[in-house]
């Protein structure tokens, strides 16, 4: 198996439900063909460095998966057909990867995420705690 990165840019004015629908569709496309998804990242709306199809904003999504080349063929064929996709890029990140290695990577990522999530929670709590005193000076400033 090989490891690939696929980045695609979807139209930025799509509702969230449609974005997740697109992501899901490509996800099943990969898994149906015995591909292993390592991670899916939604980078969100970004300004494009240059206009594509008269759009200056785009919604970026990254797929990181392991599989054979025919998966890439199929995914790219569909991306090409899809009107909601502005552009895509596929990069081969590893020539050889075994299923075990993929699992190790996924586990490591999950482990790295867990403490991060905990930190996020505390950060969120702090944000909540900080919001109440912070909110008042902000509003005051605006009043001024």
């Amino acid at each position: 198996m090989r490891r690939y990165d696929v980045v695609f840019i979807a139209l930025s004015n799509l509702p969230d439900s449609e974005i997740s629908e697109i992501v899901e569709r490509y996800q099943t496309m990969v898994t149906e063909r015995k591909g292993l998804i390592i991670k899916i990242e939604k980078w969100g709306k970004r300004k494009l460095a240059y206009d594509i199809k008269k759009q200056n904003m785009g919604f970026y999504v990254l797929f990181d998966f392991a599989g054979d080349s025919h998966i890439v063929d199929e995914v790219e064929r569909n991306l090409k057909i899809d009107d909601k996709i502005l552009k895509f890029l596929t990069v081969k990140t590893a020539e050889e990867i075994t299923a075990e290695e993929v699992e190790v990577i996924i586990e490591a990522a999950a482990k790295a995420k867990e403490p991060a999530e905990g930190a996020e929670k505390t950060a969120a709590d702090m944000a909540v705690a900080a919001e109440t005193p912070e909110a008042s000076p902000e509003t005051k400033e605006e009043e001024k």
């Binding site: 970004r46 460095a49 594509i52 990069v91």
Partner: protein, 92 residues
């Protein structure tokens, strides 16, 4: 030194003519292995672009040939997915 007692300098000695201070350039990716060159991170790649969006040459950035190649590849990938511009045309 007066012209009278001028003595020829021994061969091979450097002449003190270089006026500007020459700072040794170094490859920042060689010295810090934590730094990664990735097309997904356009912000750090911007350091290697000119204002016009051109890739800076090695003689300016000081990176080694290996890492310059990686930078170039990453910039080209980032360009193709619209994270970095091909050209910056100011003053429309």
């Amino acid at each position: 030194m007066t012209p009278g007692n001028y003595q020829p300098r021994p061969q091979g000695a450097s002449r003190p003519q270089k006026k500007f201070f020459h700072r040794r350039k170094f490859c920042r990716f060689c010295s810090d292995s934590n730094l990664k060159i990735e097309y997904k991170d356009p912000q750090s790649l911007r350091d290697f672009l000119t204002e016009r969006g051109k890739i800076m040459p090695r003689r300016i950035t000081g990176s080694c040939s290996k890492h310059q190649r990686e930078i170039t590849l990453a910039i080209k990938r980032a360009r193709s997915i619209a994270l970095l511009p091909f050209v910056v045309a100011d003053g429309k």
